[in-house]
């Protein structure tokens, strides 16, 4: 299977860089898979799980929003926050969800509340996938 270059970059460091078979990306408009030879694309990310397939083995990482760029040199994910799933602290995630729940409860009707609610749904989805 053809491989392509994949980089997962967080603001503080480079998390993953290498040749991979396939990457499944949580895009803001829906999940999409990237294979070698994908058309050039710039997409926004939502908080979710990135699945990296390399030689049949799968590596998963959590991202907290950001951008994906598919170019001639491969795929680059610029994540606001990125971490391998096995390092994600369930308690921290639960704490964030709790904060957001409070935000949603406190916020008046309007855009701010919708945003918080939206983000809450996304984080809940992540929590469900991780099973913690």
């Amino acid at each position: 299977m053809a491989k392509f270059q994949f980089d997962l970059v967080g603001p503080e460091k480079l998390l993953y860089s290498g040749m991979v078979d396939q990457v499944d990306v949580p895009g803001s408009e829906g999940d999409f898979g990237v294979l070698a030879g994908h058309a050039p694309l710039v997409a926004m990310l939502r908080p979710g799980i990135v699945t990296i397939t390399e030689n049949g083995a799968q590596v998963r990482a959590m991202v907290g929003g950001g951008f994906a760029e598919v170019g001639p040199n491969g795929l680059t994910l610029l994540a606001d926050f990125a971490m391998p799933t096995d390092q994600v602290d369930g308690a921290v995630l639960a704490g964030q969800i709790k904060d957001l729940e409070e935000d949603v409860a406190d916020a008046a009707e309007g855009a701010a509340r919708d945003r918080a609610a939206h983000r809450l749904d996304q984080l809940r989805a992540v929590q469900a996938v991780l099973g913690r």
Partner: protein, 291 residues
Amino acid sequence: MASLKDMRVRIAATKATQKITKAMQMVAASKLRRAQAAAEAARPYAERMERVLSNIAGSVADINSAPRLLAGTGKDQVHLLVVCTAERGLCGAFNSSIVRLAREKINFLVGHGKTVKILCIGRKGADQLRRQYGSMILEVVELRVKTLGFDHAEKASEKIQYLYEKGEFDIATLFFSRFRSVVQQIPTALQIIPPVFEAAASESAPTISYEYEPDELDILTELLPRNIAVQLFRALLENAASEQGARMSAMDNATRNAGEMIRKQTITYNRTRQGMITKELIEIISGAEAL
């Protein structure tokens, strides 16, 4: 002439100073390693961010419909200078060289009839600029933190964007020190609003036509504020590494100078002591002869 006791006290004092500078040098060296690693780890993100952004910016057909953060206000009357310096001194010419660069820019702009506003990040730069340009300083942000996180840069960048939204300035320039090596830090000025893409436009002239999901404008409105935070974060990290590098070499010099001083003072001390012994001996001998 100083008495022997005074000289002994003096030597002891110099030795104490040397111990302090030596300790500071070693602390700076270990902090430098961490700061340097952090600065280098953050480079890929900032570089790729810039590349993606310049690609998108290049493909925006109508510059006037682009967000104001990209297109600018169309004027260049009011300049905001974001001067990033250290919180602490004793690091050689680190702070002064950044301030000098900023000062040159201020004088240039003022000479051309522009209005200048200053946002200081770091206390030391503010102290130096306040004397001459106190009325231009909008705010001083102090960063008294152990480890610099992305959220610090985000907060500062929100402040800058808030000012921009209010129409407080037209062009923002970032001043910081780029870390080249322990002995070489380069004071740098970087324009962040509106962003300038060096050579990107000409180099990738036949730009790849990207697909956007969601559309270009949505992405740009998300990406541009992030870019400011990222560039600021990068500047702060580079600054942190530069500061430690500068402090390390400054303290190394100071330690060496103190050693030199101790050597000279010890020689003078020994000479004086010998002179006094000789004088006493002569007094005793001539006293004995007189009998």
